[in-house]
């Protein structure tokens, strides 16, 4: 929570305490001050009364709200079939006069029970497409339902804003996109996510690139939600947006962009990755090495991967070991064999698995390590060999 939210919570708490204090004082003065001799006892009794009243009031409010919601639901259930039929008539009726009649009645319902019209329309939108969807959406614009959603987006309540974005996201074409683009700058992450996912269902490259940029600059939560939605657009993003992100000066954004490429596991043409293998920041080098198997297999990259195996930073060595195994760089076998005996157990395991992926040459070295006296190296080598063979057995069985 940010400082402002924290302050608001403290102020609200303080306000409630002041109100409680005043109420206790009042109850004490009216009921107990002349009756109970002990001041403390009188105050305690006053507190008990105030708190009991508060509990009873909240309980009553809870019951009343449940009753109101129940009544609204019953009213909606009553008009739902009628409104739904009218909306279907409007969408499908070939006779203009009949369609206009339906429209007139929908407008009348929208004046009296806008929530019911909104709910029915939202339910319908989810199950229609093509010209019917366009016709219904136009009607919602004309009778003011879309305006209601746009107004709701200006609410201070994030949940209402998110719901507004959710509704606007269902409209075809550009009808809700203006608000959706504004929503990408919303202070609440869930609103931004909702808007981004909606815009990704469109085909505009500008929106897709905008959302890729959003994902790269946001928290892992936002990225994790968006990464799969962005996957179908990976090849188009590789043309401009990804190279732009990789060329940016912020190492964090570079790392995140590389993370997205790795997550997609798609073969992409991104020449901008190769120079990052020599980036001054170790986290960038390490992440670039993890992406190498998906973007290129050039000799230059092989050389940098081999250099990565001797990198002073353990995270880079780890990534280089994994990359060497994935790409199948046989020249890495001696270096991987050395890493097998590393004191960093995670690195040793990665080296062993990489050797297992390098075919007979790697397997021979693992078997030699198992037979050697170096117990730590022998243990990880055995694990890798065993995993390699178990996986092969599973695949064969499948």
């Amino acid at each position: 929570m940010d400082r402002r939210t924290n302050l608001t919570i403290w102020l609200q708490t303080l306000t409630v305490l002041v109100v409680y204090g005043a109420a206790i004082g009042l109850v004490h003065r009216v009921w107990f001050s002349g009756v109970v001799d002990s001041l403390v006892l009188a105050l305690v009794l006053a507190f008990a009364v105030v708190q009991s009243i508060a509990i009873a009031t909240l309980l009553l409010a809870l019951v009343v709200s449940k009753v109101i919601v129940g009544r609204r639901e019953r009213r909606f259930r009553k008009v739902e079939p009628v409104v739904r039929d009218l909306l279907v008539d409007w969408m499908t009726e070939p006779e203009p006069s009949e369609a206009e009649r339906a429209r007139g009645e929908i407008e009348s319902f929208a004046d009296r029970q806008p929530d019911a019209v909104e709910r029915c329309a939202v339910d319908l939108i989810a199950s229609i497409s093509g010209s019917e969807l366009v016709r219904l959406s136009d009607l919602l614009v004309e009778i003011g339902i879309v305006e209601r959603w746009s107004r709701r987006f200006r609410s201070r309540d994030p949940e209402r804003r998110r719901m507004a974005v959710n509704r606007l996201a269902r409209l075809p074409g550009e009808r809700g996109n203006g608000v959706l683009r504004d929503a990408l700058r919303d202070p609440e992450a869930s609103v931004r996510i909702e808007a981004a996912r909606a815009l990704l269902t469109g085909d505009g490259i500008a929106d897709i690139e905008r959302i890729f940029h959003l994902a790269v600059t946001e928290s892992l939560l936002v990225r994790a939600v968006l990464v799969e939605d962005l996957r179908p657009h990976a090849i188009r993003l590789a043309e401009q947006a990804i190279p732009r992100a990789l060329a940016g000066g912020d190492p964090r954004e570079v790392v995140v962009a590389l993370e997205m490429i790795e997550a997609w596991q798609k073969s992409l043409s991104v020449p901008a990755v190769a120079p990052l293998l020599r980036h001054p920041r170790p986290e960038v080098r390490a992440r670039a090495l993890r992406v190498v198997p998906y973007v290129s297999g050039s000799v230059e990259v092989e050389g940098d991967t081999l250099a990565g195996l001797a990198d002073p930073h353990p995270g880079v060595r780890l990534a280089a070991a994994r990359a060497a195994g994935r790409i199948g760089i046989e020249a890495a076998i001696p270096a991987l064999e050395r890493l097998l005996h590393s004191r960093d157990r995670e690195l040793a395991v990665a080296a062993a698995y990489a050797l297992a992926e390098l075919g007979d040459g790697g397997a021979d070295r693992l078997e030699a390590a198992v037979r050697s006296n170096h117990s730590a190296g022998a243990a990880v080598a055995l694990e890798a060999l065993e995993r390699f063979r178990t996986d092969r057995l599973r695949r064969a069985r499948v």
Binding site: I9, T13, P158, R223, R345, E386
Partner: protein, 484 residues
């Protein structure tokens, strides 16, 4: 005779007044925490929506989690538990069961059911543990690892699990806990929402009482309030603890407890802190306090230990007085041990709000509270009978102990209904409201006696766990549940 009266009456009155002042203090702080928690909860917009959870479930960049399950003589429940854990909705998790020297066939059941083979998987951690006998993995593509080791206790088993886990995040789960299907996604949210740096060290969620719920294959399929009186009391107690206090503590970044039933930790943080401590019965609280201590020391690193106000785990509450007594005794001793072990944090400004507020609160109210309250009952009762304490003072004590207790219990139940709302049937809510009132007349007093005894047991250095016989979730269990 009159001389004795003149001496004893003022002493009794003074002591009773002091206890009343103390009880008013504890109630007011609790009340303020509850209001703070209410507003913090209202501002909590972090609830993951169904669509977001679905997207995360498909996502390939959520961090991997190792779910550590220490198991000692869990043959009756282990298969259902492991199956439920393996099918949690999380895209990238492995289950690491640590068989802590069970003698009831727990390991054999796992080997048979999951077609385990003796694997060569090496540990990547260096925490000291009892001897590891073997590590098993499945011949099928199931992300399950079973570490078989000599018996060494829960902390030792967790450390063995940490050594054999390969994920950056570890979830610690009791073998008899029932997790909500999306629980890992919920508790991972603070880790995912971290900005540039990994601030979040640990997170936990709401643990609820499973008694009264319908359970099938290790999953809650229908939520209901407990039918037994004792479990009903505990359901209220859990609500009070989680909705009343933890949200506020989390808001103040001074959460001292993440329930041992289900908590999630950054593995490097736990390893850096030295893993779970062996010679304690309150390893969950002790670890969290140690993390605070380590991260706040020397100027303090920016970190968060977070409570997620989502129901994530269900535990079966004891339904016999004997077992409840043993459980509460262990919790109280764990509390005392943690506070004593880290006593240097007490009122130490270096530790910020943890040292200046959370620690004194836990010492004064959680640790000493039951003893002071018990003293209040004795003083008031004897004093009233002997005429040393006037009626109004006795009434005052009754109101601030029992009366305030009823109001706080009702308030937490109301908070539940206003926010989380997990009991769908009005009859269940009604039953819990009744339990919230009745628990203050008898059980509360019994608990003060048990917890006072536990305080003295802890001071004597008792570190026993008690028996842990489990024969199946629906069957009666002598020592179930986790500290709320």
């Amino acid at each position: 005779m009159s001389g004795v009266y003149d001496l004893l009456a003022p002493t009794f009155q003074w002591a009773t007044k002091a206890i009343v002042a103390y009880m008013i203090g504890i109630s007011l702080i609790y009340f303020v925490m509850m209001i703070l928690g209410f507003f913090a909860l209202r501002r909590y917009h972090g609830r993951l929506l169904r669509s977001e959870r679905d997207a995360l479930f498909r996502s390939s960049i959520v961090p991997r989690i190792s779910v550590l399950v220490p198991a000692y003589n869990e043959a009756g429940t282990i298969l259902d538990s492991v199956k439920a854990l393996l099918t949690l909705r999380y895209p990238n998790h492995e289950v690491v069961v640590v068989n802590d020297g069970s003698v009831d066939g727990t390991l054999e059941r796992l080997i048979e059911e999951f077609r385990l083979y003796r694997s060569s998987r090496v540990p990547t951690g260096d925490l000291d543990t009892s001897r590891i006998r073997a590590v098993y993995e499945s011949l099928d593509p199931i992300p399950l690892v079973v570490v078989d080791k000599d018996n060494g206790g829960k902390s030792d088993a967790l450390n063995a699990g940490l050594n054999h886990s390969r994920a950056p995040i570890v979830a610690v789960v009791d073998a008899d806990s029932i997790l909500e299907p999306d629980s890992l996604l919920h508790v991972m949210k603070p880790f995912l929402a971290d900005g540039e740096v990994d601030h979040t060290l640990a997170s936990g969620g709401i643990v609820r009482v499973a008694n009264g719920c319908r359970i099938e294959h290790g999953r809650i399929v229908e939520v209901g309030a407990p039918s037994s009186v004792l479990a009903g009391f505990q359901a209220i107690e859990y609500l009070r603890a989680f909705l009343g206090g933890r949200i506020a503590y989390s808001f103040l970044n001074s959460l001292l407890v993440i329930s041992g039933a289900f908590g999630v930790f950054r593995r490097t943080a736990v390893v850096e802190a030295g893993g779970f401590l062996l010679d304690t019965v309150g390893e969950d609280m002790e670890l969290v306090v140690r993390l605070h201590r380590r991260w706040r020391r020397g100027g303090g690193r920016d970190y968060r230990i977070v409570f997620v106000p989502e129901p994530v785990s269900w535990t079966e509450a004891p339904e016999s007085f004997e077992v409840l007594n043993r459980q509460r005794n262990r919790w109280q001793r764990g509390l005392v041990e943690s506070l004593w072990r880290h006593r240097r944090m007490m009122l130490n400004p270096r530790y910020g709000v943890v040292g200046m507020f959370a620690f004194p609160y836990f010492l004064l109210f959680e640790m000493l509270g039951p003893t002071v309250e018990l003293a209040g009952y004795l003083l008031t009762g004897v004093g009233l009978a002997a005429g040393f304490v006037p009626l109004h003072l006795a009434l005052l004590f009754f109101f601030v102990s029992v009366g305030f207790g009823v109001l706080l219990s009702l308030s937490s139940l109301l908070l539940e209904e206003l926010t989380v709302r997990r009991y769908p049937r009005p009859a269940d809510v009604g039953r819990l409201f009744l339990a919230a009132v009745v628990e203050n007349f008898g059980l509360r007093q019994l608990l003060t006696v048990w917890r006072t005894k536990a305080l003295f047991d802890a001071l004597r250095g008792d570190r026993s766990w008690g028996e842990m016989e489990r024969v199946g979730f629906r069957a009666s269990k002598p020592d179930a549940g986790a500290a709320p």
